[in-house]
């Protein structure tokens, strides 16, 4: 109960600050919208699909995954800023739940990225994507798990490498391979076998495949439940571990 209240309190505080700066949110949308408009035509050619609708069906889940991975893995900067500006210390001296401080922030990213995904979907619908609303919702749930995993990893990094100049390099060197191995540019189905084998160890790849199957309406395939299950398990584990580190580590 207290945890839920304090999570909500933190979520509210952080989200209001974010919304008060709408230009920041708008900026984060520029890149995915650019890729949506300019990269999909390439993909259409490479993948050999006949319509733009089909191309978007392949690429929109990739874009979701890219947003989840990049925005998630860069969330640590905001935590680092909060640490350096003394906000975390100020909160930790109060009786507020430590885990609430963390979960509230993670939740903010879930909502932010879900919002971005909806904007991307609306744009893609205009360009020819077709998707069932219920399926979109399901995909967003899966995306949220990917965000939780990415944010948790990033928060851990920020706590372990509390340095503004080193953290970008570390975050980027993780985000790049993880994103490519999740098939955020070209689906893994056209990748060589060894790449696909490596990607088996990448939970984000399972999530991306799951989202793609969901948006294609193939809900019955094993890809969906395998992806959901793996993502859910890994995300929960990451959140728990990050909470423990946060309760212990952050001064």
């Amino acid at each position: 109960m207290k945890l839920a209240r304090d999570t909500w309190l933190t979520f509210q505080y952080e989200t209001v600050l974010l919304i008060r700066n709408p230009s920041n949110i708008a900026i984060t949308l520029i890149q995915p919208l650019t890729y949506l408009a300019l990269f999909t035509p390439f993909l259409k050619g490479v993948m050999g699909v006949s319509t733009y609708g089909d191309a978007y069906q392949i690429y929109v889940p990739s874009l979701f995954a890219a947003m989840g991975i990049y925005s998630g893995l860069y969330a640590g900067f905001a935590l680092l800023a909060a640490m350096h500006q003394g906000v975390i210390s100020r909160c930790r001296v109060t009786p507020v739940s430590r885990i609430g401080l963390l979960l509230g922030r993670e939740l903010m990213y879930v909502v932010l990225i879900a919002f971005q995904a909806v904007v991307i979907t609306l744009a893609a619908l205009v360009l020819g994507l077709r998707v069932q609303p219920a399926n979109l919702l399901f995909a967003l749930v899966l995306l949220s798990m990917m965000v939780l995993l990415g944010v948790s990893i990033s928060f851990c990094l920020a706590m372990l490498v509390p340095n503004e100049t080193v953290l970008p390099t570390v975050a980027n060197s993780i985000a790049q391979p993880v994103a490519l191995l999740a098939g955020v540019l070209i689906p893994l189905s056209v990748a060589p076998l060894w790449v696909r084998n490596v990607a088996l160890w990448n939970p984000f790849a399972w999530g991306t495949r799951g989202m793609r199957a969901i948006l294609e309406g193939q809900l019955r395939g094993s890809v969906v439940w395998e992806g959901s299950l793996i993502m859910a398990a890994v995300a929960v584990l990451a959140v728990v571990l990050t909470s423990q580190l946060f309760s212990r580590e952050i001064a």
Partner: protein
């Protein structure tokens, strides 16, 4: 109100020194009474902030115990948190937030309802004269205004003890005087104030009692006047830089003068600081002619001689062999 015994904390050393640790606080004992302003005076790196962070539950002590407002620091940190407020040196607000939003959020973290939090925030805005700024971005505040907000945040729940880490560091003289007023006001409202400072005049003028900390250990504790009384007599300061030139004295001259004056019967001790010698004597009135005679008989002409009552810096020098002022 606060009793600490044997508190200590060490950190792993920076890379390069393998397996080593840095002892930031090496076992400190002190007692803070209800309703007093208690100061932790010491140079940067002495362990002041580390002690403060232990007392405010931000870091776990490696050893020792403390009781704050009746709650045990190790066993009941949650209870301690309810009784204390903390203002970090760096503050604790986002640039893009506002005073009102932060005050409401802060109050809510103590578990009060939204309407109570809004009332508390409004009262704090009035009490700390933040009316004109309350809805502006914190980034636009001056240093003094920002510090007032930090303190308002720290005491929004009317804690029994407020911890202030270097409350006036980096403030201009006017804001500093104002901050001293605020701190006294908190004490007059019945709060116990624990602050750290590396300013001698702040410890002297603001604190009812102080502990002097150096290299992780407490070297003296008492009221500023009691501590100064320990250094009995006067302080005579002999400036060996020639009055007519800006040149510093020869090191050899410094050494020679120090040797001569240390041997004087009226001089209890002598410390060389830059190009001056600081002499501790019973009475400046009789010591100064003696000092003059001795120096000129050896051909040393001091540029200036002055005397003053002992300051906390003299206490620090006597206890640690170093001066705080530089």
């Amino acid at each position: 109100m606060i009793e600490a015994s044997g508190l200590r904390k060490s950190y792993p050393a920076k890379r390069g020194r393998k397996g080593g640790t840095v002892d930031a606080v090496r076992g400190v004992d002190f007692a803070v009474r209800r309703g007093e302003i208690f100061g932790f005076l010491g140079p940067n790196g002495a362990g002041k902030t580390t002690t403060l962070r232990m007392l405010t539950t931000l870091i776990r002590p490696d050893g020792g115990d403390a009781t704050i407002a009746g709650a045990d620091l190790r066993r009941a940190p949650a209870q301690v948190r309810r009784q204390i407020g903390f203002v970090a040196q760096s503050g604790g607000t986002y640039d893009q937030s506002t005073a009102r939003r932060d005050l409401v959020h802060q109050a809510r973290m103590y578990g009060v309802s939204k309407s109570t939090a809004i009332t508390l925030a409004e009262a704090a805005i009035v009490a700390f004269h933040l009316e004109d700024l309350a809805d502006r971005r914190v980034a636009t505040y001056s240093g003094g205004q920002r510090r007032r907000l930090d303190i308002a945040l720290g005491v929004i729940h009317s804690p029994q003890v407020i911890f202030l880490d270097e409350p006036t560091a980096g403030l201009d003289p006017t804001s500093r005087a104002r901050m001293w007023q605020e701190v006294r006001r908190l004490r007059d409202q019945g709060m116990t104030v624990f602050l750290t400072t590396h300013y001698l005049d702040e410890a002297d003028a603001l604190c009812d009692r102080i502990s002097i900390i150096d290299a992780g250990l407490i070297v003296a504790e008492g009221t500023p006047s009691d501590l100064k009384r320990e250094i009995s007599g006067d302080v005579v300061i002999v400036d060996l830089a020639a009055a007519d030139s800006a040149g510093a004295p020869e090191p050899a001259t410094m050494l020679k003068a120090a040797k001569l004056l240390t041997d004087e019967r009226c001089v209890h001790s002598c410390e060389a600081i830059d190009h001056t010698l600081r002499l501790y004597v019973d009475s400046a009135a009789t010591a100064i002619p003696q000092v003059m005679r001795t120096l000129s008989s050896q051909g040393i002409e001091p540029g200036a001689i002055e005397y003053r009552r002992p300051s906390l810096d003299d206490v620090f020098l006597a206890k640690t062999g170093r001066t705080l002022a530089d």
